[in-house]
Amino acid sequence: MEDKLVEFANLLRQNGIRVSLAETLDAVAASDVTGLGERELFRAALRATMIKRASELPVFEELFDVYFSGLGEIIKGASKEVQDALSMSDQDFQDFLDQMEEMLKNHGEELSELAKQLLQNNNGQIERAMREAARAVRMQGIQRTIEENYFARALARALGFDKIEQEIKELREQLEKLDLGAGMKAKMEEYLDRRLKMLEDIIRKYVRQEREKRDMKAREEQRMNQLGDKSFYYLSDEELEKMREAVTRLAQRLKNIIAVRRKRMKKGRFDVKRTLRANMTNGGVPFHLKFERRKREKPQILVMCDVSDSVRNASRFMLQFVYSLQDLYSRVRSFVFVADVGEVTESFRTNDVKEALDVALKGDIINVYAHSDFGRSFRNFVTDHIGAVNKRTTVIILGDARNNYNLPHDWCLREIRQRARRVIWLNPESRNTWGFGDSEMERYAIHCDLVEECRNLNQLYRVIDQLVPR
């Protein structure tokens, strides 16, 4: 059993769940207590000892089903199939097997062990033999679909499939000579054929299952990682949904990191008054020192997002990210623009992020189907909303700076920068295309404190991390 649990722990690890050696030992101890008789108990024991995150539960359940029912279920299913094919009831089948045993006693001395077990429907023994063979051919290394055939052949060889085939053939020939009655003989013959076929089936299914175990989650994970590096521009609908989850997760992670950072620098100067008060019980002897809590100025954030078609996805995640982290800032205001600029702060305050995003991107506030005009948007921002920018504001502009050859009005950006703490420009285009064609990036870049490429989730995360107060 230990072997199996160790292998299961390995399997969990391969699927991205961290199981330590100590936890595996716990699992062994726990399964000793619960015993193996009741499957659900055994499952609960492993769950309690090996899985420590609620998010990992679904993966565990799935793997448990695959791993622990695995081979046994396959074999059971296969022998049920044989029974059905011969259209016998449970009782008939049992009687038939008894007759089979009787017959084997007289005529099957030369049969190999496995062939006997197979014909007697001895599922436990077959399972054991399969597992041994699997270990011998190192099946735990299987990873790709393409390897299935190879391992199926190797497994068959290890089991001595050819020999069994030969033996069953010989047994059939012997049967011909026996006097069993026509009905019985036909049944036995069919049984032998089906059994052989069944062994083949089991091998194939077993190999496939082993392969699936190993790459089920690995593939998923790989895709998630790739998602981080994937350009916002090329996302399918399904990936968009996945991405939304990923953004929420990243935001949570960032929050945790920040909480730790904060704690480290929480203590400020020595606080005489509170120290005296706290130590009055000790006759004024300062056993407990008290320190002032340092106050931190939370920055204000103003986001301006280009929501024209080309950069919409980037804007979407930028907004989602900023609003997931809202409580880290004293104030977040957000504007969207294409050829005109409009404020969406209010809809984020009253709705949840998902709805607010839809409102912002649907076009109720500004026309989102116009041609981008950064110059005009900036000018309108300066005339209407410049009051929103003050010395504590960090202004983040997200856009590709593709101005459709309109007037850039870069003086507006200068104006904004003079009033703001800093101006950061995030461009979802690849850096080496900046400044070509109608891109005004270089002209605008002069008036920014920081210009960053922001084409995928990982880059976005890095940028947001910099914005967070330290």
Binding site: S20, E23, V33, L41, A44, A45, K52, A54, T281, F287
Partner: protein, 323 residues
């Protein structure tokens, strides 16, 4: 100690706690393997209650440590009673002088005092806090470390010694080993991720919201005077509320509060004006209340059409008669 999983379920039931097999297995394992249990899950699903009932069903004392930000060793483990030490030195001044009689020079006096100093650093002057109490208790106890996620990460690290070896170290005295290993339950609302080191030392139990039947059973158990119809309706509404995107999803405790409130007001079914006014027992935010009201209206509308649906067939006959 429990002898089987069935016994856990049975004894818990006696104390009005419906433990699923899953929960019972973990509790049984914890008592058999002497391992702490980390219970996670949304607020209000009975995590804290689990520890209380465990203590009650084993007839053991429950020692509770409520965690919060800034909780330190002094509050959780032990503290020297400075005030008492000072008082004793004041009172014993004469005795101290007596001890010092015959010493010549400062060095000798200090030596003399030093030979007696363990008097002041003995268990007598230790103020035991919950963890120390649990360790030094003569009887086995249930130790509940509540909302461990609210405590700082440093505190979590400090717990490790306790959780793996069931011992604590006081530098001046030495190591206290547990006389009877306590059953430890830690609860967490997942405000932050616990460290792997802590998780490794614990069994893990995730309690989710109960399904319809479980919740109904819990109501029947805890509020026996609630009208059967009311209980069913409440469960239906709460279950559908949990599917909404609420700021604070109602837990079992909220459901119970609501049923209790409605029963107290002598409400028999949700089709009542009072229901609207008691909604704030299950949802705690303004925005959530609005959503809950809509959900409730929707539910009542459906319930009514279902009922009138059967009634209209009856009344249509009447109409025929009139015609």
């Amino acid at each position: 100690m429990f002898s089987s999983i069935e016994e856990v379920i049975e004894r818990f039931a006696k104390h009005d706690y419906i433990a699923s097999r899953r929960i019972a297995t973990v509790i049984y394992l914890a008592s058999a393997l002497q391992k702490p249990v980390l219970v996670e899950g949304p607020a209000g699903v009975g995590k804290t209650d689990l520890a209380k009932v465990l203590a009650a069903s084993l007839k053991e004392e429950l020692i509770r440590l409520q965690c919060y930000e800034g909780l330190d060793e002094g509050k959780a483990l032990y503290e020297w009673e400075y005030a008492k030490q000072l008082l004793y030195t004041q009172i014993l001044k004469d005795k101290v002088t007596e001890v010092l009689v015959g010493t010549t020079g400062l060095a000798e006096a200090v030596d003399r005092i030093a030979s007696e100093d363990e008097v002041f650093f003995s268990e007598r002057f230790i103020l035991p806090r919950p963890l120390m109490k649990a360790i030094t208790s003569e009887e086995q106890v249930v130790l509940l470390i509540d909302e461990i996620d609210k405590a700082d990460a440093e505190f979590e690290a400090f717990l490790l010694e306790l959780l793996s070896d069931f011992q604590v170290t006081v530098p001046e005295i030495g190591t206290f080993k547990a006389k009877k290993i306590p059953l430890v339950i830690l609860t967490s609302n997942n405000a932050r991720e616990m460290s792997d080191a802590l998780k490794r030392r614990c069994l893990h139990l995730y309690i989710d919201f109960p399904n319809r039947e479980q919740e109904l059973a819990i109501i029947r158990l805890k509020v026996p005077d609630a009208a059967e119809k009311l209980a069913e309706e409440v469960v239906n509404v709460v279950q559908s509320l949990r599917k909404l995107d609420l700021k604070k999803t109602p837990g079992i405790s909220e459901t119970l509060d609501w049923v209790k409130a409605l029963t107290l007001l002598n409400v028999q079914s949700l089709d009542n004006a009072l229901v609207d006014e008691t909604l704030d027992t299950i949802v705690k935010y303004e925005g959530d209340v609005r959503k809950a009201q809509e959900e409730l209206k929707e539910y009542l509308r459906k319930a009514r059409t279902r009922r009138t649906g059967t009634e209209t067939t009856g009344s249509s006959d009447d109409k025929d008669l009139l015609n």
